[in-house]
């Protein structure tokens, strides 16, 4: 059966670009998540501050992280769509093997 063959392992340049974008966005999220965890671990008193008219920083930053995950996901999807617009999904047989 054709499904038993190995999948095509070449990476197209488009796939490489998508991977890079993914990693860059991921790095941003790591900074956000890591920063938040650092606050929780080392400066918890800061999280009790209430700069946003009543809602404390703990809740605001938690919600912010959830929103950031979604925003980054959308950014990634749009970026990949733009990249694919250029490549039109063509596979190049001599591309570097992954």
């Amino acid at each position: 059966m054709p499904e038993n063959d190995q999948h095509e392992q070449t990476i197209t340049p488009a796939a490489l670009v998508r991977a890079r974008i993914g990693l860059a966005l991921f790095a941003i999220y790591v900074l956000l998540y890591g920063g938040y965890m650092a606050l929780v671990l080392f400066r918890p008193a800061l999280l009790s501050a209430r700069p946003f008219g009543g809602v404390n920083l703990a809740i605001a930053s938690g919600m912010g992280l959830i929103a950031a995950a979604f925003v980054l996901a959308i950014v990634y999807m749009v970026a990949c769509w733009l990249v694919e617009g250029g490549q039109a999904g063509r596979q190049r047989p001599n591309s570097r093997r992954h």
């Binding site: 190995q6 999948h7 990693l23 009543g54 809602v55 703990a58 809740i59 959830i66 995950a69």
Partner: protein
């Protein structure tokens, strides 16, 4: 606490469960090839798959466990929400596309796609089975916790009900119907939790949960006698003499002086009013003597500002010892890394047709799951002030909150929570049965199977796994659900993530490297857990101090260990093996 079972509740519940099973029979009439059984022909639409991700992922731990933790301890349950969701960012931005490119049916396929190594297939199949089983236990325990108050049946009955229902679903139709079960469940869960949140905001906050007079703040004592009878404050438990429901506001902010209720509140107002209020939560203390084991539930007056910040459950964040902080960091790391490593999540990448669809469905999943976790904070805080909490069970917080609005809503939410468990358990059994039939039997033992035999083998494995899951669910019935899920995440992250990431990004990964990393990661995290203070205390009944490891969550140590092992072994086996070049 004893619960009144209402006929409405039972009817709605039965309707849901039978509806779901019936739907799966209907869908199962096609999809009997291996491609159909394990991967739904790769034809699931990305939007459906995305919501199915949510349905798959939002298990008992998310819905019941987190809401319950927030209701009892405040903010800290939300930390679980944040950690769980963050893991999806890893899945999307790092893993989603490459994994789709690489595999056919299972996670082992993906890791092995370039090496064709029996070692890898064996190690990964075993780690898939181990993680699936660890993840199954809290689901089954959660199911038992749900059935007891809903239908008045004993815990074991709930476990058996889930086991049988899921096995039926999985055996009849495989991935197509599990996907649809999860899609339905995901949509319903988010819809009804949204509805409940709106009701909470509309009700606003009330002193003493809207009941006249002041709250009864007398401590309550539950005694389990040596012969098994249950006493409440010294007298036998009965419908007339039972534990009082708890969790109320003592005082609203001064700006509401003279009022006992705030009226409808906006989403941000809800938090700010709560922060300025004083709330009565309840703590429990156990001690044993000749007459039995006594648990005393005492009220605790807390300021809103103290409850809405970290430290209520993770006491280490407040006390500040280094090992407690490491334990917390380790758990958060495991949650971050674990989502992308869970076998039953990963197989869902094979049910869509291509990488663009895999990406889009993950984005939909993140939106749905993120939305849900935002709601958990409202549900948990609403339950905390609802006056309806059962002091013995945090898992029941969300359904009991629904009951304060209407019995019908309670029945629906409980039924949804039950199908929550059905959905997750289906996915886990699919992943496990794939590991057995496809990975172990066909690829490791080299027993060739025709397409139909492969499907049949998967179904037999599904039944076997169902039986194991039921037995363990009954055995572990007294465990905290989130604690068990944390185990599964630690093992998944330690066993699977290093190999996945290094295979994608490091050309010199060898097959021995992967086999070693998966094996060591799994064994190290498993051993650490078995030697931890929590296990010593709750499983073996030994003292916490005698445990052999400094903190309970292994992730901080075993995840890097997996990476190190992979790198070292790969470098040692460079010359003579095909590498991921």
């Amino acid at each position: 606490m004893l619960y009144e079972t209402s006929p409405t509740a039972i009817v709605i519940f039965a309707a849901f469960v039978l509806g779901v099973i019936g739907f799966s029979f209907f869908l199962g009439r096609k999809g009997q090839s291996a491609q159909g059984y394990y991967a739904a022909h790769g034809e699931i639409h990305w939007f459906v798959n995305g919501i199915a991700f949510a349905g798959d992922y939002l298990s008992a731990a998310s819905f019941l466990g987190i809401c319950g933790m927030i209701a009892f301890h405040g903010y800290d349950g939300f930390l679980y929400s944040i950690g769980f969701l963050a893991g999806w960012v890893v899945a999307l931005l790092v893993i989603a596309e490459p994994i789709k490119r690489m595999g056919k049916f299972t996670f082992a396929d993906a890791l092995d796609s370039q090496f064709n190594s029996r070692g890898i297939k064996l190690a990964v199949a075993i780690s898939t089975l181990v993680v699936s089983i660890f993840y199954l236990i809290p689901q089954m325990v959660g199911a038992g916790d749900l059935i007891m108050p809903l239908l008045g049946l004993p815990h074991a009955a709930g476990v058996l009900l889930v086991g049988v229902a899921v096995t039926l679903i999985v055996v009849t139709a495989g991935m197509v119907s599990t996907t649809w079960v999860q899609f339905i469940k995901g949509s319903l869960l988010i819809f009804f939790c949204g509805l409940l949140t709106l009701l909470i905001l509309n009700r606003g906050l009330m002193v003493n949960a809207g009941r006249p007079g002041a709250a009864n703040l007398a401590p309550q004592v539950k005694t389990v006698c040596p012969d098994g009878t249950l006493l409440i404050d010294g007298k036998p438990q009965s419908k007339e003499h039972d534990l009082r429901p708890v969790g109320t506001i003592l005082a609203l902010p001064t700006r509401y002086a003279g009022q006992t209720s705030t009226g409808p509140l906006g989403p941000l107002e809800y938090f700010s009013v709560l922060e300025d209020s004083t709330i009565i939560t309840w703590s429990s203390k156990k001690h044993a003597d000749a007459e039995g084991t006594h648990t005393t539930y005492s009220p605790l007056e807390r300021k809103g500002t103290d409850l809405l910040k970290p430290g209520g459950y993770f006491k280490g964040l407040v006390t500040g010892t280094l090992t407690d902080k490491l334990d917390f960091a380790s758990l958060m790391l495991a949650l971050f890394c674990g989502t992308a490593s869970l076998p039953h999540i990963l197989i869902r990448y094979y049910t869509v047709k291509d990488q663009a669809a895999a990406r889009k469905s993950t984005v939909v999943g993140i939106a749905a799951i993120g939305c849900f976790y935002v709601l958990t904070l409202y549900l948990g805080l609403g339950a905390m002030t609802s006056g309806a909490l059962d002091p013995t069970s945090s898992n029941m917080a969300a359904p009991l909150l629904a009951k304060t609005f209407s019995n019908t809503l309670f029945a629906i939410i409980s039924a949804i929570a039950f199908t929550t468990v059905l959905g997750t358990v289906s996915g886990l059994i699919m992943a496990g049965s794939g590991a057995v039939a496809h990975d172990l039997v066909e690829n490791v033992l080299h027993i060739p199977l025709t397409d139909r035999e492969k499907v049949r083998c998967g179904k037999v494995a599904a039944v076997g796994l169902g039986i194991v899951a039921m037995a363990l669910g009954i055995l572990f019935r007294n465990f905290n659900v989130s604690f068990l899920v944390g185990w599964a995440f630690n093992i998944a992250a330690s066993a699977n993530l290093p190999s996945l990431v290094m295979l994608l990004f490091w050309q010199r990964t060898t097959k021995q490297g992967i086999t070693a990393a998966v094996t060591v990661g799994m064994l190290a995290s498993l051993t650490w857990i078995l030697l931890s203070a929590d296990t010593f205390e709750k499983v073996y009944g030994w003292s916490r101090e005698s445990s052999l490891v400094p903190f309970s969550q292994p992730g901080l140590v075993t995840i890097p260990l997996g990476f190190v092992v992979l790198i070292v072994v790969s470098l040692l086996t460079q010359k003579n093996q095909p590498t991921a070049s």
